[in-house]
Amino acid sequence: MKIEIHGLRASIDGQQILNGIDLELESGQIHALMGPNGSGKSTLSNVIMGHPSYQVTGGDIVVDGESILEMEADERARLGLFLAFQYPVEIPGVTVGRFLKRANEIRFADKATATKGFVKELRAGMDFLEMDQQFINRYLNEGFSGGEKKRMEILQMLLLKPSFAVMDETDSGLDIDALKVVAKGINKLRDPSFGALIITHYQRILDYVKPDRVHIMYKGRVVTSGDESLVHTLEAEGYDWVRQQFGSPDDVLEEAR
């Protein structure tokens, strides 16, 4: 899957958040997207997945040659896009097992084997992510800890095998053990048919999942891209470096206040 984002502008409640994003993503690659709070990272992930609260005001998102802007979120999911949520919502009354079984059927509708090995695969996935099998009968995310919710996102990703996953701050709020499990999940999928955009505020997860490309976002734009060395520059210099390099003098003053 190839995703081309051109000049993407988007707003929510009349407030402009994305100011012309240019980004090329592809299965087989792991991209990291970093940036200070408020730079529009979560907005970008929601817009890629088609969240109805955001309005695209310019530019395009093209997947394998076709614009997806007119597609509902479920159509995008069926293309093979996946969003790991920063704050996965609780779905009372719907068990993990029931939810995943149906999601699996939808995803692999064209394959007769969709449900055949599903339960086995679900159990194997839970073992791999060190999750208690009891979760199958619990209501989705209800009463889960922050770490359990994030693991549940990764479990879904393992089972649904997207062509490209956007991971919105999946690492935030995780202790080091949970972070390692999440990284293990991403690395397990790593192959030419899977790609990911790892959106993060911290470099920590990138110690466990090596990115092919790194992008820095600031004020609704991708201001620079590079290889893994960019992560180390950020680590050494902090986000002030981004503001000084790519912000206007006013921004620096504004931040200093």
Binding site: M49, D74, G93
Partner: protein
Amino acid sequence: MSLQRAVADLAAYQESLPGPGWLGDVRRRARDRFERMQWPTTSEEEWRRTNLSAFEFDSYRVIDGTSSDDGSGDVQRDGGSWARQLHYHNGVFTGSEGDAGGAIVDDLIALADAGSGAHCESAVASVRSVLEAAVDRADNRIELWNLALMSSAAVVYVPRNLAMDGAVLVEVNADADEAVVAPQVVVILEEGAQADVVVRCRSSEEGELLVAGAEQLVVGANARLRLTLLQRLNDDSLYFHHGHAEIGRDAVLHRSEAALGSDFVKTRFTSDISGAGADVDLNGIYFALGEQHMDLRTVQNHRAARATSRAYYRGAVRDEAHSIYQGLISVAPGAPGTDAYLTNKNLILSEAARADSIPSLNIRTDDVRCSHGSTTGKLDPSQVFYLQSRGYSLNEARRLLVQGHFEDLIAQTNESLHDELRELIARRIDG
């Protein structure tokens, strides 16, 4: 089969009904009180949102309870795993099936006729005092109408320390048009007894029925009763129901009701918690659509110390439907250590639909824990988006969320009903 007017011919109808003399006395006493009362009006708090003034109660006919029922051969036996079943058709007892073990599960008149055995006699005597008390306690005309019209009653009587093996089904079925049916269910658990009872009220697809039902529960000391009442009448029918429970010391009552039918619903369930340490759960599921009106009320009446009660009511409304849930927690001065809670959650699925939630507390003692909470709102768009992001279509996501809204309450009913409840809810989402 003769048809008589349900109000004007009430006295003549009563004389035609079978049963022991005391039952005739109960009916007559009920009629006597009935005749001295008016139909409830919106000036009464409980009826403020439910207006009966447009109903012509006398236009409904009663089906003569003495006539043998020609449909009895066609009664559909339920495929569920019931220990014992009682079947009623158009108000007439049409038969039973299964083995109640040492318990008595039978029609009242059949039981009174059989009459032999100390067990039977004490069961009939208990039912008699329960029904007499019901007449004395009744505080509105609909409730008295039920007792005056009562041709017989489904009786579940479980003697001391007996735990029934398997569940009881009382099936109340009707297929008449412009007819009134007055089902009565009496469940008596003696000390330490256990039972699981399902009452299902259903009808044919066509025909306007007026069901004025009632349920009398006596849960003795340390006894455990689970009772599920499913109402799935056709969408032309009117449904009234008055339930009452007397709950003894350390007794447990888990009651669930589901209102998944009828054009008009008005129900009340009162739990009189007269034994210390008792534990009561009242669960409710309702779903109104079209122009349906559903008004459900629960009363948690604490009269003894250290008892616990919880009411969980969940509703959904769509189209131009209107639902009302009224929950009252009342704590008497002699009930310290009471722990009572009620919660009501409503889903509004259409702009023009409405759900009223009216919790109230009446607490006359210190040292209690009482609270209530209610939420009413639309489906959460972030939940819909989450499901869509996993490939669920908008419709499928909405359906799953509405089903999920009721699911934990479904899980607490008798297992034989789970699929039926899910199916009835699904039909109301899509229909």
